[in-house]
Amino acid sequence: MAGAIYFNGSELTGQHDVKLNGTDMDNVYLNGTKIWTRHPYTPGTEIFTYSWSAGGNINNLRTTYYSNYPLAFASQPSYSSGSGSPDSTLVMALADGFYVSYYNQNEHGTDSDGVGASNTGGTYNVWQGNTVTGLARASGGGSLSVSSSGNNGSSFKVTYSGQ
């Protein structure tokens, strides 16, 4: 698990905290067992923001965003309904250490405090209809504090927590 190593009681939180003779280490082994892997990003790094509109197409989240930010996803997003245009629901599983740190729905406002939602992994439904859009936490515990479907567009931000 990235970051799960402590020095004098403090968790190592940088992307590279472990050096050997001045060289950054990617992995640390103890007696042949990997006990630490470097963070792929510095914790707190905003990885990407995705915005979509009612009546548009969300397929680029499944293709372009997955291709550009593969570490953020546990697997390639797939449809539970539709194929990108209304009415489509794209199931997005985030990898451990990545979370939705911000969600704005045009009608219902913004959830940016993380209350109610986990800060690592989980599955979300990215939804788009002809007049509405939204984001819902589908599994992994908790829920977003702003409604999962409302008028016009939505956006969310994925951040690396390292947890």
Binding site: P86, D113, G129, T131, A136, S145, S147, S148, S149, G150
Partner: protein, 67 residues
Amino acid sequence: MATTEQIAHYYEGFCRVVDNMNAGKPDNMTQASWEIHRTLNIDWLKEIVKADFWTDEDLTIANGLIG
């Protein structure tokens, strides 16, 4: 920990969702969109009433929707 302002914001959204669901399908929304939109919002209401940040807000206004 949610602030007083955030709780007020979330409750405003909560009430708007209840009103929207009670109002029924808007004329400009397709039936297919409405069915998913309604399911998502009802599921969201069922989850958000369990949130631990509520204080004395009246969440019972959703009872008729979430059973």
